[in-house]
């Protein structure tokens, strides 16, 4: 059956409880968002457990795929932070793979006719999820920056080689730019996912309503259908690119924390 509640472009972002749970005054229900996070995390664990179950010197196909991911992120961390960035590799790798899988699984088609709360859902299309990820990144940057450099971390806001009279203008600018980092990280990922899915469902909605007319007008549905295919292809690019961008920016911010006193 066609579910009219899932017809508009915005209904896909509704968070619906699947298993209602209460903990004191808090609602800790298993929602469609948390279900798709669990599916993504489970798929990642299964894939890497399967790919590395018996590691060979000459890798098989799944092992080669896992190693490609590993080397990609490893090179990224080494190129941006340097040898000291080694200890951040697990964090950046987890972040990259999780965002990539969360983005890509949101593009899976739903089975027709299943209840609205079981439709495919993109956890990263919600600002609260991406903001939490960005907050973790910026917390690590601040804590490690003070642990490594002590009060020298504040040199981040006062670049060397700048004349003293420029400092009153430059320092507030640098502070504001630092404080806007978690917001820009979060909004970039959220807005990309959100906008892509809205456009996808808008095109799909045009196709459905044009076919619903049942007359020769149906033929006009071909153009938005091709548009939906093109947007889906673009979304695959954006999904991978945004995971990459999030990882790169995390590395750049971590680099600031590691090398704050070199500025």
């Amino acid at each position: 059956m066609f579910n009219p509640r899932a017809a508009g472009p915005m209904e896909q972002f509704e968070i619906l409880p699947i298993v209602p749970l209460k903990f004191g005054n808090y609602d800790i229900s298993l929602t469609n968002s948390s279900l798709w996070m669990l599916i993504g995390t489970g798929a990642i664990i299964l894939f890497f457990a399967f790919a590395t179950r018996k590691s060979n010197l000459v890798p098989g196909r799944t092992q080669a795929m896992a190693e490609t991911f590993y080397e990609f992120v490893s090179d990224l961390v080494r190129d941006t932070i340097g040898p000291e960035g080694r200890k951040f590799f697990p964090y950046v790798f987890t972040l990259f793979i999780w965002i990539l899988i969360a983005n890509l699984f949101g593009l899976l088609p739903s089975f027709p006719g299943i209840p609205h709360e079981l439709h495919t859902f993109t956890p990263t299309s919600h600002l609260i999820v991406t903001l939490a990820l960005a907050m973790v990144t910026i917390t690590i940057v601040i804590l490690y920056g003070f642990y490594k450099n002590g009060l020298g971390f504040f040199k981040l806001f006062a670049p060397s080689g700048v004349p003293l009279w420029l400092m009153p203008i430059l320092v507030p600018v640098e502070v504001i730019s630092f404080l806007s980092r978690p917001l820009s990280l979060a909004i970039r990922l959220f807005a990309n996912m959100f906008a892509g899915h809205v456009i996808l469902k808008l095109f799909a909605g045009f196709v459905v309503s044009l076919i619903g007319t049942g007359s020769a007008v149906m033929l006009f549905g071909i153009a938005p259908f091709l548009g939906a295919i093109a947007v889906t292809a673009l979304e695959f690019l954006v999904a991978a690119l945004q995971a990459y961008v999030f990882a790169v920016l995390t590395c750049i911010y971590l680099n600031d924390a590691v090398h704050a006193s070199d500025h």
Binding site: I187, N192, V198
Partner: protein
């Protein structure tokens, strides 16, 4: 003016950043291509930087989109 009309006009105005994002994306890809044609051997090494710049520029347009959606659906 009615609040509903003001809301719709505001959402329309919030999509103006798309013009800037379009100009910016054109500049990035155009300059990358002209550089890549001059020195094709250095093009592959600079592709990640180009993609990063693409994502950073696209963000301004998407911010406008997000603001338009917030105006339309939350007030």
């Amino acid at each position: 003016m009615e609040a509903e009309a003001a809301k719709l006009i505001g959402a329309g105005l919030a999509s103006i950043p798309l013009a800037g994002a379009g100009v910016g994306l054109g500049l990035i890809f155009g300059n990358f291509l002209s550089g890549a044609f001059r020195n094709p051997s250095a093009a592959a090494a600079n592709q990640p930087t180009m993609l990063l710049a693409f994502a950073l520029t696209e963000f301004t347009g998407l911010l406008g989109f997000a603001i338009a959606m917030i105006i339309l659906y939350t007030f």
